[in-house]
Amino acid sequence: MDMRFTPDELAFRDEVRAFLKAELDPALARKVRLHHELTKAEMEGWHAKLQAKGWLAGNWPTEFGGAGWTPIQRHIFEEESARAHAPRIVPFGIAMLGPVLQKFGSKDQQDHWLPRILNGDDWWCQGYSEPGAGSDLAGLRCAALRDGDHYVVTGQKTWTTLGQHANMIFCLVRTSTEGKKQEGISFLLIDMDSPGVTVRPIVLLDGTAEVNEVWFDEVRVPVANLVGEENQGWTYAKYLLTHERTNIAGVGFATAALDNLQRVARAQVHRGQPLSQDPLFAAQLAEVEIELMAMSTTNLRMLSLAAQGQAPGIESSMLKIKGTQIRQRLDVLTRRAYGGQASALPTLGNEGPDDAEEALSATATWLNNRKLSIYGGSNEIQRSIIAGALAKG
């Protein structure tokens, strides 16, 4: 056993740090740190810089134009990027669709879609959840009926993150109502510019509109856009969710949030001393830091298993629960550290007190990060997955 990074890994970390120092605009990093909404151009610009370096798709094999990083390299990149407040890589094309196409897509689909993800020609979003299909995702009803060499899609998707920027959406659609509900689902790629597609933003508690509702009204989709086999979409969906969860621990985000909280706690005054020296607050801060120290190693242990080709199973569910608990706890403490100033209303934008911007971002983060324990399979769903596996084992 050796917990140190290898010389190669350390050299890679240095290279990542140097890249971030050279390429990350401080004004952009500040927006990320304060959880301001980024423009589409800002996100695309960051993607382009990464792609120029060959680092946009660290998780893809080199044969598809990815960097072919080891799990440890990906971890290093994610942690360093988060701590530097770099924009996160928009996951829908790179982290989600890419691996599915590489595993289940046809050669034509791979040749056509994968380069377009890397060069930014397409912005993908994810059409999974529906108003009636949240945790019970397989209960989805958005229907795709075969009509010659097209499917005709009618139905509604919701919680579509950054769908307002997307020109393409990968969707789970119902192609059969016979048998088990999981057996009538297909995985379809739909052009958002098709007639019959409507996108409407959903404003959230923090005032942002990062998620959307998407309607399909008899939208015609070429059969060539079916991934894999008809009615086998559930298999691909589960594969995608597994990939979605490999960085679900969010160690980098939690580390950045801890850095920030420690900075705030040193600056805020309590009984004439820095808040960081208050025994009660310091103990709470220490508790969450210690939780993160352990979780970070749990994450590395799981990555190390993944590096040996062992597929993530309930480990990713465990990391999702613990990782989101830690991040939400950090959000609570950060808000609390700001005291009364944290009552500024995030949706007011610049109308609050001049110096309340940071406190305001703490509240916005608290509100926005309620999503962490809900999305990607709620933490309760993860507990059921873990318990189900334990019951069988």
Binding site: D2, M3, E291
Partner: protein, 332 residues
């Protein structure tokens, strides 16, 4: 970064597991000695052949899982401390470690005082004190070597919570040899914390496995207990926390030889995490079992008692959390 056991450590683990299935009771100790387990806990300089964090963690996890109650931890700490002070103990000598005191939570020097090179006062829960060739004793800020047959030394033995024999050590102007400041012996003491934590981790996994088996077998309302979501989700939470405890032990075992400030943060984090999880598992394992979990006859009982004992060994979670929060060394 590599979390795999080395080939040597895998062989050590296999050998230990074999011994633990073949030997129990009185026969266990000689079998462990013959297989070189005590020596595996010490470095070559200390008279052993390994002494790495990985070896300590794996040995005590196995012993903790099997519920072995032998005073190996005090012997290891004392042997390492004596060796560091240039006073090697005889090979295989029984050694004890007197740390806890009555009248205080985990402070040192409350019930014991020093005059010149003589100690007066009381230490408690001294595992392996009976028959020890030498005892390592802590005072407010120093470590001492004490001969049990020295004048002014009284040993009052009794059984302890974890199944071991312990004793009160009563000292009246007893002569002892000062080894040095506690602050300079962070290494041997950190290894003690690792050993206690790994023992607890072994007991944690044993208790969680037993609880899971019970939930799968026991039926109520026509269903196995694991089919009830309230219980299933508690079981899932336990599984998550077990991984936290495992990582805390991994972190400490991987940082035993790191610079003292970093090593001590992992000592403290390990005690906080494993202590918290040990108590959670002790409570939830009983609750998930129901009444059967409270009976002396059932196998869970010994695990619960060992978990409680591990929680307070060498400072509990709160004590170490405070020092972590203040940025203080683990031992001073």
């Amino acid at each position: 970064m590599d979390f795999q056991l080395s080939d040597d450590h895998r062989m050590l683990q296999d050998s230990l597991r074999g011994i633990l299935t073949r030997h129990t009771g009185e026969a266990l100790w000689p079998a462990l000695v013959e297989a070189g387990m005590p020596a595996a806990l010490l470095t070559e300089d200390e008279g052993g052949f390994d002494g790495s964090g990985a070896a300590i963690a794996l040995i005590f996890q196995e012993l903790g899982r099997a519920g072995v109650a032998l005073p190996l931890i005090p012997a290891m700490i004392a042997a390492a401390a004596f060796a560091q002070a240039g006073q090697h103990a005889e090979d295989g000598a029984a050694l004890a470690f007197a740390d806890a005191e009555p009248g205080t939570r985990h402070d040192r020097g409350v019930a014991i005082s020093v005059q010149g090179d003589r100690l007066t006062g009381r230490k408690t829960m001294v595992a392996g004190a009976e028959g020890a060739a030498a005892i390592l004793v802590t005072t407010a800020d120093a470590l001492w070597r004490l001969a049990p047959d020295a004048p002014g030394v009284t040993i009052r033995p009794y059984p302890m919570l974890d199944g071991q024999r312990g004793a009160d050590l009563i000292l009246e102007d007893a002569p002892a040899t000062r080894l040095g400041a506690i602050a300079d012996f962070g290494g041997p003491l950190a290894r003690g914390v690792l050993a206690h934590s790994a023992t607890a981790l072994g007991a944690i996994t044993a208790a969680v496995d037993l609880t899971l088996d019970y939930l799968k077998q026991r039926r109520q309302f026509g269903q196995p207990l694991i089919a009830f979501q309230a219980l299933a989700h508690r079981m899932a939470d336990l599984a998550v926390e077990v991984e936290q405890a495992r990582s805390a032990v991994t972190n400490l075992s991987g940082h035993l030889d790191a610079d003292p400030a970093l090593r001590d943060r992992h000592v403290q984090a390990c005690k906080v995490t494993v202590g918290r999880v040990a108590r959670l598992v002790a409570e939830d394992a009983v609750q998930l079992h129901g009444g059967i979990g409270m009976t002396e006859e059932y196998a869970l009982g010994g695990m619960i008692r060992r978990l409680l004992a591990a929680e307070t060994a060498m400072g509990d979670a709160d004590w170490h959390l405070e020092r972590f929060a203040r940025g203080e060394p683990a031992f001073a």
